[in-house]
Symmetry: C2
Subunit: 235 residues, 2 copies
Amino acid sequence: MILFIGHIENNKALLSPTESHHMIRVLRMKQGDQVYVTNGAGDMYKGEIESLENKSAVIGNLESIPNLQKRDYKIEMAVAPTKQIDRIEFFLEKAIEIGLDAYYPIITFNSERRKLNHERLNKIGIAAMKQSLKAEQPKIDDLVSFKNFLKENNDTPGQKFIAHCHKDIEQKPIKDVITLKSSYQFLIGPEGDFSKEEVQMAVEHGYTPISLGDQRMRTETAALSCVMLAHWLHQ
Amino acid sequence: MILFIGHIENNKALLSPTESHHMIRVLRMKQGDQVYVTNGAGDMYKGEIESLENKSAVIGNLESIPNLQKRDYKIEMAVAPTKQIDRIEFFLEKAIEIGLDAYYPIITFNSERRKLNHERLNKIGIAAMKQSLKAEQPKIDDLVSFKNFLKENNDTPGQKFIAHCHKDIEQKPIKDVITLKSSYQFLIGPEGDFSKEEVQMAVEHGYTPISLGDQRMRTETAALSCVMLAHWLHQ
């Protein structure tokens, strides 16, 4: 069964024009078809297509079902988008399937990419969320400078890490410092890594410098490996 | 510094025509440039470009250096290639960066893709190996039927797992059964999963049926998450 995102009210779900279009024009679904629907905030329902107007489909007969993928931890990542955008897109899709809750694209000193199609990334995020039957819509933020990101996240709770490859700045293997906490925030730099100043700045904002081991990894691989670590830690 | 693969003899490394072409025509390197070179079998050297003939470059002054990424375990995966080939290509690149030793593409009952460009996958594998400075060339096999794969791997040592989603066939969470062993072999099915008969067949060949948790994952995500689990287990 296919999952849709809708506005839930009075035991009905009203789909957005985009979701309705997808249901009607792309999937060619019919009145009476059974579907899943979520409000994107953790609630999951089974329902039946009640009406299919041009740009607003309604799902009725909603029956609340348990959110089997509910987790007791959150994963947030700030990753400098890669030069080749398909790399970060693939990362995003895989990371959301596994359980990424928020992606913050950042511009850093060594960033080669300083523009981003936010709408496209958001679409990929929603598609991955729906495909993997998640009841929570991942947050995909606008591109922001590393400096501003740190400022805005000064009070973010949980464990906060910055991965880097500078051998002369102290860092700890991630597995030695990560614990079973309620939330994680990872910072992953661009192809040329964070600058030393950036690592220092993050430390001043409460981030723990970490290493991801002896493997030389691309940006998106490093980011994905952090999501996977948090995932497997909780299995 | 850039890594090349070469045939090592008498303290010199002779590059293949493809590797030589890459060095000379693509990277436009010059005599005297410093490079890394490996035999693809675990030995790593630092050296200096000695001669640059049209199709055969020679690296001299070889100095053996430690293989920092040497692992005391092996990861092999048989994965049914996805319908969209870029998904399996991305998996392969990420998996090799992390430490995949061998990839066996398989044709299963529900496989939609029954053809594969082996040369292209091999190129991706070598590029990923070089990019992540690995001294061991990953094995990328030809497409083979699931049945024949099982026959050929009857005596493969180590822990052997088959991931599937059939709720009525016993399976154990992978984290409950994986141990710190010297080698792993994972079987991951296509978009429509392995058939029940295929799971049964694998069990008869010594594979343990496993589940990867409550997340609904695409083929390549499931495969990647197994590589990541083995990786993080050993960190």
